[in-house]
C-alpha cells in the first residue's frame, strides 16, 4: 500500500504451513530465527540441518533447507560425516537437552574436541518434551517432572549439566553462547548468536554452539506467560547467559 512500509513478515525460508508446536513453545521462535539468519547470510543453498529425535524432529516441514534426520543423540556424529564430505556447506545440528546432554553427550564432546567445523543449536527446555516431560540432564534442582515427582534431587539424580561451561575448555570449540527466547531483547540476542556461530563456521574456525533456554508450557504445566517467569527465576540463575567462548580471529 502506498506510503506504508512492510516491517515484519514471514521469513523467506520459513515454510508457510501451520506447525505442530504447542502454543508458547520456544521451538517455533527458534525456527524463525534460523530462517531469518539463513536468509540474511544468504546460505540457503549451502545450509544443511540435522534435526534430532525430540520435539523438533519435524523441522524439515518448516525450514526450507536440506535436512537429514539423525538417530537420538547422534546428530554431531552425522554432522561430522556430512561436513567432512562437504567442507564448504554450513552444517548444523538442532538438538534438545536429552538428545545432546544425555544420550548424545559422547558424540557432542568428541565432535567439539575434534574442532569439527559445524554448529549446534542446543534447545534447553529442561525436560524431555517429546516423550512427555521426564527429567532431562538440565532439569534444575527441585524441578518437578514426571520422573522426579518430588522434584530433582541432586543426591540421587545429580545436579543439572551446564553444557557451555562443559565445552568451553576444549580447544576445538570456538564459539559458545547461551541465551533465551523468552523476551524480545533475548530473542534478538539469540539471533545475533546464531549469526555469529554460522559466521564462525563460514570462516571454518571450529565447533560452535548456541544454547537457548526455551519454554515448554505443556510439560512445565505453566501458561506461556508463566513460562517466561520460570525462565527468569528458575533457569537463568542456574544457567547464566552470555558468551562462554569466542575465538578472536586474527584480522587478515
Amino acid at each position: 500500500m502506498k506510503g506504508m512500509k512492510k516491517i515484519i513478515g514471514r521469513p523467506k525460508y520459513l515454510k508457510d504451513v501451520p506447525n505442530h508446536y504447542c502454543p508458547g513453545c520456544g521451538h517455533s521462535t527458534i525456527h524463525r530465527l534460523l530462517a531469518e539468519v539463513i536468509e540474511e547470510l544468504d546460505i540457503r543453498d549451502r545450509a544443511i540441518c540435522i534435526p534430532p529425535c525430540g520435539c523438533a524432529v519435524l523441522a524439515y516441514d518448516y525450514i526450507d533447507i536440506d535436512m537429514v534426520e539423525a538417530a537420538h543423540g547422534r546428530g554431531t556424529a552425522v554432522a561430522t560425516g556430512m561436513k567432512r564430505c562437504l567442507p564448504d556447506r554450513v552444517v548444523f545440528t538442532y538438538q534438545g537437552d536429552g538428545d545432546l546432554a544425555a544420550i548424545g553427550t559422547a558424540e557432542l564432546i568428541h565432535s567439539a574436541n575434534r574442532g569439527e567445523s559445524i554448529t549446534t543449536i542446543f534447545v534447553n527446555n529442561g525436560v524431555y518434551g517429546m516423550t512427555g516431560g521426564q527429567m532431562a540432564p538440565t532439569t534444575v534442582v527441585g524441578q518437578k517432572t514426571t520422573t522426579t515427582p518430588k522434584g530433582r534431587n541432586p543426591g540421587v539424580d545429580g545436579p543439572p549439566m551446564k553444557m557451555c561451561e562443559f565445552l568451553a575448555p576444549l580447544d576445538g570449540t570456538v564459539f559458545l553462547a547461551r541465551s533465551t527466547v523468552h523476551s524480545p531483547k533475548q530473542i534478538k540476542q539469540t539471533k545475533k548468536y546464531i549469526r555469529q556461530a554460522f559466521e564462525s563456521q563460514l570462516r571454518d574456525e571450529g565447533f560452535s554452539m548456541v544454547e537457548i533456554l526455551s519454554q515448554c508450557p505443556s510439560n512445565w504445566k505453566l501458561s506461556p506467560v508463566e513460562c517466561c517467569g520460570w525462565i527468569e527465576e528458575g533457569m537463568i540463575p542456574q544457567f547464566p547467559l552470555g558468551v562462554y567462548k569466542q575465538r578472536q580471529t586474527e584480522p587478515s
Partner: protein, 358 residues
C-alpha cells in the same frame, strides 16, 4: 601397487586396498582386535591418496553415524569392527537400512557372546543375516573364503550398496584378516555413480530431506513394502555360492568363510581315499543361495553343516532344503578352529554311519 599384477597381501590389507580402489572416500572406525590392521591400513593409505577422509571415532556408535552422514552426501563410505563393536553399530545400521543409505561394514568376527575372545568365529551369523537391529530390514551379507575373493567382494560391495541403496556387510574373522595370499588388485574406480537423491544443500532448487520417522502407519507400511520388494529383487538376483566335488557326492558339507577353507581341506583328504563327500559354500549369506542348495538335494540325500557357531547357518540350510534331505550340524563355537584332519575324521564317521544305515 599395480593393478592386474599379483601381489602378496595380508587379509585386512586386501579388504582395505580393494575398498580404496572401489572409490571408498571415507573410513570411520574405532579400534578393536582382531581387525586393527584394517583401520591402520586405511589411516596410512588415505593419507597418501587425494580426497579421502579417515576419522578415528570415539565409539562404534559414532563411527556408524559418521558413515550415515557421509553416505547421506552420496560418498562411498566404509567402517569396520569386530563383534562387540558391530553390536554397538546395530542402531545405526537400522537407520541406514531405513533411509536406504549405501554403506559397507566389515565385521571381523570374534568368539562371543560378551567380550568373548579374539579367536576366529562365525557367531554373528544371525545378527548379520536377520537385520541385526530393530525393524524389518535386511543387509546384503558377503562371506569371502579366500583373499582374492575378499578383494573381489569388497570391490563389488560398494556397487551393490549403491545399486540397491542398502548396507552391505562383509564377514571375516581373525584368520582371514591375518593370513597372507597372493591377490590381483582391480584398477581404481573413476566412474562413480551419480546419486540424485544425495543431500548436499538445496542449491537453487527445492529443499529436500531424508528421514526414517514415518508417523502415519500407512506411509510406514508402504515404505516397508518398498523395502521388501527391493529385498525380493536382491533375493532373485544376487545369491552366490560355490561348490566342490559335489557331482557324485553322497554327503555334502555346507560351510562358509574360514569354515569352508577347513572343510575343503577335509573333503580333499577324504576324496583321495575314495570317500564321496563334497562341499557347498554360500558366498552370499543374505541373500542365502537357497535355490542352488535345494538343487543339490536332487542328487544328495544328506548334508552336514559345519559352522564356527552353534546352530545358526544350519537354520538357513534347513529352510532351503525344506525337508528334502537330512541335515546334521557340526558346530564349533567359542573361537575354536578345528583342523582339516579333525574335520575329515568327523566327516568319515558320519559317512560310514550313513552307509551303515543304508
Amino acid at each position: 601397487m599395480k593393478s592386474n599384477e599379483k601381489v602378496l597381501l595380508r587379509g585386512s590389507e586386501a579388504i582395505g586396498e580393494a575398498a580404496l580402489r572401489a572409490g571408498c572416500q571415507c573410513y570411520f572406525g574405532y579400534p578393536i582386535t582382531p581387525q586393527n590392521e584394517l583401520p591402520e591400513y586405511m589411516a596410512r593409505r588415505m593419507g597418501e591418496l587425494p580426497g579421502r577422509t579417515f576419522v578415528q571415532s570415539e565409539s562404534e556408535l559414532a563411527a556408524i553415524n559418521m558413515v550415515y552422514g557421509a553416505s547421506a552426501t552420496g560418498a562411498r563410505v566404509m567402517t569396520s569392527s569386530s563383534s562387540p563393536g558391530v553390536s554397538l553399530m546395530q542402531e545405526g545400521i537400522s537407520y541406514l537400512a531405513a533411509c536406504e543409505f549405501p554403506s559397507v561394514i566389515v565385521n571381523i568376527i570374534r568368539g562371543g557372546p560378551g567380550l568373548g575372545n579374539i579367536a576366529p568365529a562365525q557367531s554373528d551369523y544371525f545378527q548379520a543375516t536377520r537385520g541385526g537391529g530393530h525393524g524389518d530390514y535386511r543387509c546384503i551379507v558377503l562371506a569371502p573364503g579366500f583373499l582374492q575373493e575378499s578383494v573381489d567382494l569388497t570391490y563389488r560391495a560398494f556397487d551393490l550398496a549403491d545399486e540397491y541403496r542398502i548396507p552391505v556387510l562383509i564377514l571375516g574373522d581373525g584368520m582371514m584378516g591375518q593370513m597372507m595370499e597372493p591377490v590381483v588388485l582391480p584398477a581404481f574406480r573413476e566412474d562413480l555413480p551419480k546419486k540424485e537423491w544425495a543431500i548436499t544443500g538445496a542449491g537453487k532448487g527445492k529443499s529436500r530431506f531424508i528421514r526414517s520417522l514415518l508417523l502415519d502407519v500407512h506411509v510406514e507400511e508402504s515404505h516397508n513394502w518398498k523395502l521388501y520388494r527391493k529385498y525380493q529383487r536382491i533375493e532373485r538376483r544376487e545369491p552366490r555360492s560355490d561348490s566342490y566335488a559335489v557331482e557324485d557326492a553322497e554327503l555334502v558339507v555346507v560351510a562358509y568363510g574360514t569354515a569352508a577353507r577347513i572343510a575343503k581341506g577335509a573333503v580333499r583328504r577324504l576324496r583321495a581315499r575314495g570317500v564321496k563327500v563334497g562341499l557347498f559354500r554360500p558366498i552370499t549369506l543374505w541373500p542365502f543361495p537357497a535355490k542352488a542348495l535345494a538343487g543339490l538335494a536332487e542328487s544328495v540325500g544328506r548334508f552336514l553343516v559345519f559352522e564356527m557357531s552353534m546352530g545358526q547357518l544350519v537354520e538357513d540350510v534347513k529352510l532351503a532344503l525344506n525337508g528334502k534331505a537330512e541335515v546334521e550340524l557340526y558346530g564349533r563355537p567359542g573361537g575354536v578352529v578345528v583342523t582339516p584332519v579333525e574335520l575329515s575324521r568327523i566327516l568319515s564317521r558320519r559317512y560310514n554311519a550313513m552307509r551303515h544305515e543304508a
